[in-house]
């Protein structure tokens, strides 16, 4: 691994995205539109105030998962990955380069989503808005790294899109948006404790209601961070220079 090659890879991925303005618009606008739609649906009820913070975790997570998994799969399928792995590029350089590039996009995306939710949709945030943004960004980066990992197990675009419901939906269902996690059946409750999205939603709700101190949010961020690191390491391990 080498910082110059990692940065070159991140720069290259960002240049690719820059040549695709439609993707940029979709990345930045879609989560906000969905949050706006949700705020509209629940406009005369107190529901948006409860699930709004969770949505800030959800949409960037899903969008980054999809974009990253498909982009990396394309790299595998067009032969550029084979070329890169025959060159002096470390596997970590590639994975970290992708994580950096999409992580940067995730920062922009989360900032737009948080700003839209708070200032346009009137989501009330009692705690620090910076802490909210930090959790949202960590969550989007988590989506990126899980997407990278998922693409390692997919041979085709069809397969990688199927990973979305397989890996992401259970986390949404168990994450406490549909039903508070305390009210889940015991087995599901303990299962949800192990899922990163649950911690992201917990943290965002804690910031929104200012019901916990910063140490609690920091702890949740650490758990998400551990998942990010785990997905990056596992993603590098599953990347093979020699293929059958």
């Amino acid at each position: 691994m080498n910082p110059r090659r990692t940065l070159a890879t991140a720069g290259r991925v960002l240049s690719q995205v820059r040549h695709d303005p439609r993707t940029i618009v979709l990345l930045l606008v879609v989560p906000s539109l969905l949050i706006g739609l949700l705020a509209w649906i629940f406009s005369d009820t107190p529901v948006f105030a409860t699930i709004g913070p969770g949505m800030i975790a959800l949409f960037p997570f899903i969008v980054m998962f999809l974009v990253t998994s498909i982009t990396t799969l394309r790299e595998r399928r067009t032969g550029t990955l084979e070329r890169l792995l025959s060159m002096p590029l470390g596997k970590g350089d590639l994975i970290l380069g992708y994580t950096l590039a999409f992580g940067l996009l995730a920062v922009a995306q989360s900032a737009v989503a948080v700003g839209f939710a708070v200032w346009v949709c009137g989501l009330e945030i009692s705690g620090s808005i910076w802490l909210l943004l930090a959790v949202a960004v960590a969550d989007a980066v988590l989506g990126t790294t899980l997407g990278l990992l998922a693409s390692a197990f997919a041979r085709t675009e069809f397969q990688v899109v199927q990973f979305m419901p397989a890996l992401v939906f259970p986390q949404i269902l168990l994450g406490g948006i549909f039903l508070p996690r305390e009210q889940l059946p015991d087995v599901l409750r303990s299962a949800s404790d192990w899922l990163p999205l649950s911690h992201a939603i917990d943290a965002l709700q804690a910031v929104a209601t200012d019901s916990q101190d910063a140490a609690y949010v920091g702890g949740e961020l650490l758990i998400i961070g551990a998942w990010i690191v785990g997905a990056v390491v596992l993603g590098s391990v599953t990347l093979r220079r020699r293929t059958p």
């Binding site: 110059r4 290259r12 067009t78 025959s86």
Partner: protein, 255 residues
């Protein structure tokens, strides 16, 4: 520097399966250094598998592959071996220059190298264009340009001239010989037999085996034919396939 007397590539008793099919069964071959060696044979005979093995991206079952004196695929070879895959492996959503700048950064080659390989592959005037907007022949030249970065000691080119017009093909072969004259070893695959006469040495391959390893002139003399296509047909008649009912077995296919 490469010791010009040692072979660039030495393959001994190589067995490779791709999926369930054995592609190479006990193949041994040696590629001399500092010359253009053509690897010719029909589609599906195992050319790409052999090239992938030499570059070190193919899982092999058994056998030894030595490239520039080291095990194929070792880390130190990744600077010294340039590889062009059959389909152009470049980023369609980047410009020609951006593609080459990225590969240059990965290789750690000097900055001026991008302009050098653009000129070598006659792409200077397309440098600012998106690769996705180029013709097929131009895309494959971008792929080739990427492999020339950092002046590797061995170039492994998988059908680099497919889809190019005749003039451009002649230019590329001139480039290959120019590179060989400056000490680069080249292994170039093709399924177009008329390109054989442009190589310094030929490897004729069929069904995972090397049928002939000779100079173009030597091959014609040995087979008493006038062109490589005829030579190839003559060799096939001399070495029938194992499942050819009219004759004996070539053996070794079930190992």
């Amino acid at each position: 520097m490469v010791n010009t007397s040692a072979p660039a590539v030495d393959v001994t008793d190589l067995h490779v399966r791709r999926g369930k099919h054995p592609v190479l069964h006990g193949l041994s071959v040696s590629v001399p250094s500092g010359v253009v060696v053509g690897l010719l044979g029909p589609s599906g005979c195992g050319k790409t598998t052999l090239l992938r093995t030499i570059v070190g991206v193919q899982v092999v079952q058994s056998g030894t592959v030595t490239v520039l004196g080291q095990d194929a695929g070792s880390a130190s070879l990744r600077h010294r071996v340039g590889y062009v895959t059959q389909d152009a492996s470049v980023y369609d959503d980047l410009t020609v220059r951006q593609n080459l700048q990225y590969f240059r950064a990965v290789l750690g080659a000097p900055r001026g190298d991008v302009d050098r390989v653009l000129a070598l592959t006659d792409l200077t005037s397309q440098a600012g264009q998106l690769v996705g907007s180029l013709s097929g022949g131009q895309r494959s030249r971008v792929s080739l340009a990427g492999a020339l970065l950092g002046s590797p000691d061995l170039l492994v080119l998988d059908e680099p001239t497919v889809g190019l017009d005749p003039l451009l093909r002649v230019e590329l072969w001139t480039l290959f010989h120019h590179l060989a004259a400056s000490g680069t070893s080249l292994l170039v695959s093709s399924h177009v037999m008329d390109e054989a006469s442009r190589c310094d040495r030929l490897l004729l391959m069929r069904d995972g085996e090397i049928l002939a390893d000779d100079t173009p002139a030597g091959l014609l003399a040995a087979t008493g034919t006038e062109d490589t296509e005829g030579a190839f047909l003559a060799l096939i008649q001399r070495h029938p396939l194992a499942d050819d009912s009219r004759s004996g077995t070539t053996g070794g296919n079930d190992s």
